[in-house]
Symmetry: C2
Subunit: 405 residues, 2 copies
């Protein structure tokens, strides 16, 4: 008996049959004596088709109005699920973002939750209602509708679980949990029973799409135990929890890859203060995020500087840097889209030396050349040629003892 | 220079091209120096398809949740129009029912507006924004979303115009205005330049679908001048206004018909107190509206009682009355679906005697038998055989001098 928050993603509410399935699962939890709050995404594909409609009007639709438009997606599924629950003789009520008082800043399209006043949810729970909250949406202090960005329903769920001090936050999705590697690439990938918030953060930031990264930050901050699991089976998924001693005995918990980056190199850049700022200012102004940055010293007061951006921003970034190169008298600018980033992640790295050399050796055995390296406390990433990405994942998975028995 | 409220119906916002057309019209009014508030319906067909989706879940979807679902229709068009206006370099902002503070009672699906706090609209107008309000929707005092019933956007528009003390309320639709008769039936029908609130009320209640009847009540109560016109042309439409001396010189301003009724007769009903109540109680309990009621005295303490209901309720009502007939010992119950109601309406009737006899004579000349008669101060309706409906409209149109020159 407890208070359970359940979040269902777009594929789990893709049509009325799937919504009926969700209702059955919710009722099962409710009938066991639990209080249940359900957070829903829009039907799969709806958010994209709404954005496309807006883009037919204009290349850059007004952000406030785009949020008003997109919010209809979760409004629809929430009303439909509440209706379905009531038709199955269970008390239920939908609440939109502003009704559930999910207060955000006014950054349309990518708003951050600043507060959740859970009074109305609590009131309904006390009457033993199932509360269905539209995910992905909130409102600012002036009552304008805001949305939380891609995957924002995960953050809605975790934030509401935190505000309600829920006993569990279950994220239902179309995969069975968090894997040691992408099962499509690595046949021997295993589902993890547990993973720490920090590992999940690193994995989310390097391409694992199971959870929105901000939802993990939220879960870590408020210590919300998150259970990632499939809405298509009854199987247990992966618990995302606080790090414990047991976890540190495992050196590497997952291998990920990301083919969505491209690199840009400025050759023979004059090595003097303020140059790096000049190189990255126009990129930042264009709203382009930079991932890895590497600067190597050359002889003669010159340096080579390489960085990576997402493939979508590659052309723009390259054009910008060509102008910069002229201004700062760099010798040349060139880029490469055929790259991939392979990473190993694990909290155990902190206490186990030699992970990096083991990784480099494993790649070397397959003659995979390392183009760039970047590291965090619990992650090591290598940039390699794109064609080796899958091979690298498999090799590292085996090298770090992650293969399924 | 003034404050203009414009309402656009479903066919006027049926797709992005139509919405662009609406934007151009709005901008034209705005650029003439007017403040503009726009009220929108959902895209044509959307409300019905949302209802059908809900009906796939259950025969009788929860009314609160159905309103949440339906409200997405106007939310979508409002966001799209505001985006379009902004993409055309005009300041605009959408407001949903609760944001525009359209407060209603909590009668889901058919809520009545109790108050409009127009502060937020006024604030935006003072900044010279075009304000786009989602029609058809409001919220109750607890913040639940409500909808105002079929055609509710008309009522939204008139109520907001009243609250803002607007100089004009323009209702854009797919017809050019209010006609002396349905132009599809009566080739000689003329568009009226002006019509009184009372006449419009009578015409709306007997089948003219130009304006929702409650919007006319609202307009009359708050003396809002309503201009019904086409969004497909620049032509002037029909002004719905307070009665003036000029109007009274015209005896009949319109001829309407309604084929959507059926009649039920109870024969030889014992003529004693309380019988009528017994006959209509089960009908009322079933939520069926009765239109005309006629009771004729017969010899021998017996009476015949006839009434009409909408065709959709006919079967149910007939079954109920069969039971009633047994209980009260009426001789027989029979019904007829092949009927039509033809009406003439005009404020001039008050001061011009002989309208009824003129109507009866005109019908008699064509051998059209009158089955029932009902009258109001400014309307006379006759029930006739359905097959004569069109003929009757044409004959009456000519008889009362309404034909186009």
């Amino acid at each position: 008996m407890g208070l359970i928050v359940q979040k269902y993603g777009g594929t789990s509410v893709a049509d009325l049959d799937r919504i009926r399935e969700v209702a059955r699962r919710v009722i099962k939890t409710y009938d066991q004596g639990n209080d249940v709050v359900v957070i829903l995404s829009a039907m799969a594909g709806i958010t994209d088709s709404l954005i496309n409609m807006a883009r037919e009007i204009t290349e850059s639709p007004d952000k406030r109005e785009l949020d008003v438009l997109m919010a209809t997606g979760e409004q629809t599924t929430s009303a439909l699920l509440a209706m379905t629950l009531k038709s199955m003789s269970h008390p239920a009520q939908s609440l939109l973002g502003h009704q559930a008082e999910v207060l955000t800043d006014h950054c349309y399209g990518n708003a951050r939750i600043v507060d959740i006043r859970a009074d109305r949810i609590m009131e309904l729970l006390q009457k033993r209602h199932i509360v269905v909250v539209a995910g992905f949406q909130g409102c600012d202090l002036e009552g304008n509708i805001t949305t939380l960005g891609r995957g924002g329903s995960d953050t809605s769920a975790v934030a509401i679980a935190a505000a309600l001090k829920a006993d569990a936050c279950e994220i239902y999705t179309d995969v069975a949990g968090v894997y040691t590697a992408d099962p499509n690439v690595c046949k021997k990938a295993r589902k993890l029973d547990r993973i720490s918030y920090d590992e999940m953060l690193e994995m989310a930031s390097i391409g694992a799409k199971v959870l929105q990264i901000r939802s993990v930050e939220f879960a870590k901050k408020y210590n919300v135990p998150v259970h990632v699991r499939s809405s298509f089976t009854e199987e247990e998924g992966t618990m995302v929890v606080n790090e414990d001693a047991n976890m540190e005995s495992v050196v590497v918990s997952g291998v990920t890859y990301n083919k969505n980056e491209a690199r840009i190199t400025l050759k023979k850049v004059p090595d003097r203060p303020g140059i790096a700022a000049k190189i990255f200012a126009p990129i930042a102004e264009a709203g382009i995020s930079v991932d890895m940055i590497i600067q190597n010293t050359r002889a003669g007061g010159q340096t080579d500087l390489t960085f990576t951006v997402s493939k979508a921003d590659y052309e723009t970034a390259l054009e910008l840097e060509k102008k910069v190169a002229q201004e700062i008298h760099a010798e040349d600018v060139f880029g490469d889209e055929n790259i991939a980033k392979v990473s190993v992640t694990g909290v155990g790295m902190r206490s186990h030396p030699g992970v990096a050399s083991k990784m480099f050796a494993a790649l070397a055995r397959e003659n995979i050349n390392i183009l760039m390296i970047s590291t965090s406390e619990i992650r090591i990433s290598c940039l390699i040629e794109e064609k080796y990405a899958e091979l690298a994942v498999q090799v590292l998975h085996t090298a770090f003892g992650l293969d399924q028995e």
